[in-house]
């Protein structure tokens, strides 16, 4: 009796991508908020809050990408080249964001340059990721085992809209992260930014929720026919409840609640996405099973993954624990 490994890998990959979105989401969000900070001290604090952990956070992107390559290689071979330019731009953005942490500290007269590098790198990488997401949901033209569309298919209203939406989403994560990690004036500023971001995110959730079914009849059928409406209604309902909770927390003195609520919004959005495209990994024509690698490959990787992922989570958790608490101003280090 052989176990079907595809559902297991679907879960693992979904988890890895979600971890990336949450973790790098907040530090990219901090980067996008960077130029709007009240003053230079605030900017230093903002950077301090993410600097010890950004590298580990970004590593989940590699796991997501290589995980897709290893578990669903046909999907990788179609989606990645189809996203040729957005991925190029994302990688360049991530380069500018990544080196900004270190170069900014070394620079004296050119510090402004690396402030800009941090901001634009974060913004561009986020926007590019949103475009990739939007193109993904939009679907790909496939012929046989190859992408058959144009390398400029991403330049369309829906993907661009999702790009903007993701910027608001990451800003929400970044702002609520700052609410948990800072205090005083900076924290109050972060709360204000989080509220603005929340408006934006809710608008985009609404737009995406209405627009996505229009892209593809299968999706509309899944959400709007009976009895599906009844079974799937919890997702939009949960979204509203979490949004309300987040709203309330932002106006109160709750701190970590805001960050977890923001993550909750991402979770419901993610769930909605999964429901829409299931069982396809290359929307809307190639299923997870069609795209999967051979059982020998999936099994070989699964054994190690099941052992290593918990260990990774443990030492990552330890690292977050070491750098826990509020960021304080350290004049000796700036």
């Amino acid at each position: 009796m052989t176990i079907d490994l595809v559902p297991i890998w679907t879960l693992i990959l979904a988890l890895a991508v979600f971890m990336y979105v949450l973790l790098d989401g907040f530090d990219l969000g901090v980067g996008i908020l960077f130029p709007f900070a009240p003053d230079d001290t605030s900017r230093n604090l903002m950077m301090d809050s993410v600097a010890p952990i950004w590298d580990g956070n970004e590593t989940w992107l590699i796991l997501g990408g290589i995980g897709l390559f290893a578990a669903f290689p046909l999907a990788f071979a179609i989606i990645i080249p189809a996203s040729y330019f957005p991925i190029l731009v994302m990688l360049l953005g991530l380069i500018f964001r990544g080196v900004a942490f270190e170069f900014r500290m070394k620079a004296q007269r050119s510090r402004f340059l690396w402030d800009q590098s941090f901001f634009w790198g974060s913004l561009i990488a986020t926007f590019a990721q949103g475009i990739v997401l939007g193109s993904f949901v939009h679907g790909y033209q496939v012929q046989g085992r190859h992408f058959a569309g144009s390398l400029f298919d991403w330049f369309a209203p829906f993907p661009l809209m999702v790009g903007v939406g993701l910027v608001f989403g990451y800003v929400l994560l970044g702002a609520t992260w700052l609410v948990t990690k800072t205090e005083g004036a900076l924290q109050r500023w972060a709360r204000k930014k989080a509220r603005i971001a929340l408006y934006g995110v809710l608008i985009f959730i609404a737009v995406v929720s209405l627009w996505t079914p229009m892209l593809e009849p299968k999706i509309a059928a899944r959400w709007f026919t009976w009895p599906n409406i009844a079974f799937l209604a919890p997702v939009p309902l949960a979204t509203l409840v979490i949004a309300a909770w987040l709203w309330h927390s932002l106006y109160s003195t709750r701190e970590t609640a805001t960050f977890f609520a923001a993550m909750g919004l991402f979770l419901t959005g993610y769930a909605g996405l999964a429901i829409s495209i299931w069982p396809n990994i290359v929307p809307h024509t190639i299923s997870l099973w069609d795209a999967a690698s051979s059982p020998k490959s999936q099994a070989f990787l699964l054994i190690g993954t099941l052992f290593l992922l918990p260990i990774i989570v443990m030492y990552t958790g330890w690292s977050y624990y070491v750098f826990r608490g509020k960021v304080k101003g350290d004049t000796g280090y700036h």
Binding site: I53, I62, F69, P81, E102, H146, S297, F323
Partner: protein
């Protein structure tokens, strides 16, 4: 050779991977060196080890960050420009790369924050442990990525269906014929690269009469390591070459510049290979020597390039010259090591200006050696991307135009030159500042220096 999407994609991959590899070539050895220094300080409590370690940790912070951001580009390259390769070979190579991510990248990244900035936040043994984990992470990374590359060079443990590769025996996939040799050869190479960077930096200070204790210690440590690894590398390189002779004979023939099959093949010191005429011009060689070191018999038979169909030969000139550049760098390392011992016996190691100047200028030798070594082996693998089974020309993403790749290549080039240029500038600034006599600012316990890399001060 027209600049089509295939050639441009190859150029692009070569560009981003060559740039990227310069960083791990340094940081793999450096991570180990830092772990050693931290361990020595933990055990001996000698302050000089701590000062040297803190200095190199700052350098490591900048270099490692550049390595990470240039490294993230790599897996996506497989998808964007080599989607057919990805489709064909993923079942074999992608799980191996995933293990690199799981075992190496997370380990390095997870403990990096503690290493760079957790010294005052965790007990000394835990800080040393973090340094050790980062070092081990870099070595795991070397392991898995070389498994992938070696499998592409000497594939084994697989079956093919409709042109696609499927794993049959994972142990055979991993322990493919060239992997052990490539692994040992590369680890020695990166350690040597770091050694000569450290030695050169020490010489920089000694020439200026700065940081005497630190630089003498660094010079001794670096020279000590070089003394072991330089001769060892000759042996490892030789073993690797013999493996290549057996499994990739056409690559070996190109490396040696041997066109005609025969016995008593000469060791070609210099020549100008001509692929059209299939011969060498201005050849200077030592008769019989190549047969001797390749087959352990002066009368040994070595197959020449002419015995392989033209479409199966690599670009001979590139492979031939690149190989010799790599060997020349080894020659320089050998010269500097032997000279160093000569001076050490006369108690003049730290006081000979010419030698110190040579060491200083020799900082790039390792970087040049690894780059040209990689050119040798990768260009030598052409026209195959999976040797003997999948041609590079059949691996490129279909429907990619020359315009697309020109644009991406130009953007990568612009960004890389700018960003890594800036990185080198800041690294040089750090070196000029040197190891601090004492930490400039001891953080109090409730002060959390949360930026791992602000250990590098902007002074």
């Amino acid at each position: 050779m027209s600049l089509d999407a295939l050639v441009l994609s190859r150029l692009q991959f070569a560009f981003v991977v060559a740039f990227h590899f310069l960083l791990p070539a340094f940081t793999i050895g450096l991570a180990s060196y830092i772990a050693v220094l931290e361990g020595l300080h933990l055990v001996t409590r000698r302050p000089v080890y701590l000062r040297i370690s803190n200095f190199w940790i700052k350098i490591f912070a900048v270099s490692f960050g550049m390595g990470v951001v240039s490294g993230i580009v790599m897996p996506f390259q497989f998808g964007t420009n080599w989607s057919r390769y990805s489709d064909m070979a993923a079942d074999v190579v992608a799980p191996l790369m995933a293990y690199e991510g799981l075992m190496a990248f997370f380990l390095e990244a997870g403990f990096l924050g503690i290493l760079l900035f957790g010294r005052k936040l965790v007990p000394p043994w835990a800080h040393f442990f973090a340094a050790l984990m980062v070092a081990i992470g870099t070595l795991f990374s070397t392991f898995w990525i070389l498994v992938v590359n070696s499998w592409m060079q000497t594939p084994s443990g697989f079956s093919m269906v409709d042109g696609r590769f499927f794993p049959q025996d994972w142990l055979e996939v991993i322990w493919n014929p060239s992997f052990p040799f490539r692994f040992m050869h590369t680890v020695a190479a990166v350690y040597l690269t770091t050694a000569f960077t450290v030695i050169g930096t020490a010489a920089f200070y000694l020439r200026r009469g700065r940081f005497a204790e630190e630089s003498r210690t660094m010079l001794k440590m670096g020279l000590g390591l070089a003394s072991i690894l330089v001769p060892l590398q000759a042996g490892l390189g030789d073993l690797h070459g013999l493996s290549t002779l057996h499994h990739q004979p056409v690559k070996l023939a190109a490396m040696e510049g041997i066109w005609d099959t025969g016995t008593r093949q000469p060791m070609v010191l210099f020549a100008v290979p001509d692929s059209q005429a299939e011969t060498n011009y201005f050849e200077i060689g030592i008769p019989g020597l190549a047969s001797l070191y390749l087959t352990h018999d002066v009368d040994g038979r070595v197959v020449g390039l002419r015995d392989f169909p033209k479409e199966d030969r690599p670009p001979v000139g590139v492979v031939f010259y690149a190989f010799r550049v790599m060997l020349a760098m080894w020659g320089i390392m050998l010269l500097l090591t032997v000279w160093g011992w000569w001076l050490a016996f006369r108690h003049q190691l730290f006081d000979t200006p010419l030698y110190l100047r040579a060491l200083n200028y020799a900082i790039p030798v390792g970087y040049i050696a690894v780059t040209f070594g990689w050119i040798t082996t990768e260009a030598g693998r052409q026209p195959w991307v999976v040797y003997g089974h999948l041609r590079t020309a059949d691996a490129v993403t279909p429907n990619l135009t020359a315009g697309d790749v020109t644009l991406s290549l130009l953007l990568y080039a612009l960004v890389y030159f700018f960003v890594f240029g800036a990185g080198v500038y800041y690294l040089v600034k750090l070196v000029r500042a040197g190891p601090l006599a004492a930490p400039a600012h001891e953080p109090r316990l409730n002060e959390r220096p949360a930026r791992p890399l602000s250990a590098v001060e902007a002074d």
